[in-house]
Amino acid sequence: MEDQSKTTTKAICYHCGEDLPKVKYQTDDKDFCCAGCMAVFKILSENNLCNYYVYNNNPGRQLKNESHLEYLDDPKIIDQLLDYKHESSGIITFYIPAIHCSSCIWLLEHLYKINPAIFSSRIDFLKKQVTINFNHEEISLKHLVETLNQIGYEPLISLQDVVKAHSSSVDKTLVLKIAVAGFLMGNVMLFSFPEYFGLSGFEKQFQSLFGWLNLAFSIPAAFYCGRDYFTSAITSIKHKHINLDTPLALIIAVLFLRTAFEVIFATGPGFADTLTGLVFLLLMGKWLKQRTYHHISFDRDYRSYFPIAVTTLEKGKEKPVSINDIKIGDRLWIRNGELVPADAILMKGDAWVDMSFVTGESEPIHKVLGEIIYAGGRQTTEAIELEVIKPVSQSYLTGLWNNENYKNNIEKQNFNDSVAKYFSLGVFLIAFAATAYWLFQHDSHKAWSAFTAVIIVACPCVLALSTPFTLSAILSVFDKKGFYVKNTDAVEELAKCDTLIFDKTGTLTSNENAEICFSGSLTNEEKLIVASLLRNSTHPLSRHILKALNVERFYSLNDYKEVVGKGLSAQINSHTIYAGHLSMLPVTIKSVGETGVHIVIDHNYKGCFDIKQQWRPGLAQLVSKLSKFNLQVLSGDTDKDRSMLTTIFPEQSTIRFRQRPHQKLDAVLSLQESGNTVMMLGDGLNDAGALKQSNFGIALTDNINNFTPGCDAILQGGGLNLLPHFIQLSKDGLKVIKISFAIAIAYNCIGIYYAVQGTLYPLVAAVLMPVSTVTIILFTTLATRWFARKNKLI
């Protein structure tokens, strides 16, 4: 057994589990893939925290590049981030995307061993949050974050505070209301039992006591637990349209009034049991509807992508400033890899800006002095100086979110609300007809009881429950397949879509499986030289190529130079080698593409490493399965893949390239104006506008912890092939809801038969309601499972 574990640990990095390169780092008989992983191990072993490796094998993650944390010294920013501060102790909550296993919990809850100024730390695993209680006089916030970075748990601090946005999203009072409703229902049922079994003369003395107790319990049921239905009904009547809450509020009111009437005048037992049961079930349905995923945020906008602060230059001195405080005319200092937060003019430095956030184009664009760089661009070379021309809130990118077209002007009506109108009308007609009949017969008592009974028995409770039960069952089927839908309402939208728009990069292609290919040829010796050079760079491209080369040994090198983001050069074994961008090379080469890492050894051009994006597997099958939909591809990239896409997609589908974010948004809008229901699939910030405008926006991601723009659903890359099945299941779900509605009508007909005669006994109502509810819940659950199996989703 021990031997086995040894052999497995030998092939992979002890810390992160990545495959070992042929040249590995070693300490304490343990192998590491890179210096970063080894450094983490050293810190942990110095602090006696090696239990981290006991709970899980290779629990770590590879370290990313260093980040600049100077802004964490700014007291204004500190105050913004801290949850609580009193004398020497401070409490802060971080969102740490790297949290993924029990080792993470163990380590992060033992932070006090690394630094005694940290009193305690607590993890919320599902939310990936850690709450740290620390002495802010002894350890600065910056130092605290640095400590976390050192052990590989970099907190994500962005402008839109993920931590605080989460805590307000849950409706806490609903759970309390459900608890109260459950309590009331239980007690009322207990006091109603004697009535169900018939009262003997002796028990009659308790009848009025139980009646009054039931009435007392009905008051909070109607006015505390059911209050939302009344407010919702009143607002919807004010706007002159009827939603499902309107008949529900009416029923709650009628049930309460009739119970009060019967108890006070001692004419009967009342309907307290039906009332409390109804309220309890309704609230349960509401809770199911509100349930969302803790670990996924669907409402992210540009602010989650932006850092909380940037470095500004004031009289030549660097000073971190909170992004909200940036004014026109400020000088920004943007380092390699940092994001330009506001539209600004380039004042100094060589700018190669990666605009993929904004345009979707992956190639960095060269900007000359005096040119405008739009917010969202990422600087890929040396540090540059910029002058702000527009505040953050008015930049080009931010404009995408503040666009007024957004779908709030589209009337979103779900099945329930559209049915509610006719349902209410029908119930009223029957109720008034029955009342009129009994009044005509001069039996005013029966007229009153028939009127109330019809309204009570024709309760659309089933309607209010079948939708959340069916749709939440569908949601849970989806999420097992890596498809996370925002809420149950969104599933209904999914079923209605008839037009699908795909983004190309990151959606039809996968960023994870990018393949390194080399055009040209290298001898083994040359490979060694290239690898020895690239080993010294931390640029992700260098690391990628190094991994692909995977050589056994390295040469030492002299005269190493790195122009950040542009290229490397050095002397190795009396060879001069250059690797990098075309403009960096000492010789001018024509007839080769701009992109990639070009290699020149001793003034001889050797070729170029290129990253080729891989199409997601099964794309052709996916498209053929979706042939009954109107398909479109809108790509921000160049049209180099046009021939490939035209062979896959059917002839009538539109394929457009070089689409700016606003053009994508306009395309969605114009489709919607011509009556189509649009589903948009995208991945980046450049699709964000279109995702938000579309009727159903899906953000594709290969890692669920990555940031995705605001959308209705998040789909894991591997699940893309199941998309036709997802759509079919959502359509089947609507079918289930309609069938259950028919079943409910059947039950109602039985109830109404008794109700119109004015002979509805409370017991019948009290039995009919739970029986119909249980039937519906069983039916929806089983039918959904059956359809899911039919669609091969379980």
Partner: protein
């Protein structure tokens, strides 16, 4: 059977106490995270080399 009046009162009171307990537990955040504590209890106490030796001698 007048004792029933008393018993009914008792049962309602008991139920109210439990409801109150739930309110208290919910408002103090005891239901906020129901996943992590389940993992947390599985962690062993710190076992250092000397300690285990001591244990060895004492047993």
């Amino acid at each position: 059977m007048n004792i029933l009046y008393f018993l009914v009162g008792c049962s309602v009171l008991m139920a109210l106490i439990f409801l109150g307990a739930f309110f208290w537990a919910y408002k103090t955040g005891q239901n906020d995270d129901v996943h992590t504590p389940g993992i947390r209890v599985l962690f062993d106490d710190e076992v250092t080399a000397e300690k285990s030796e001591e244990d060895h001698f004492s047993s």
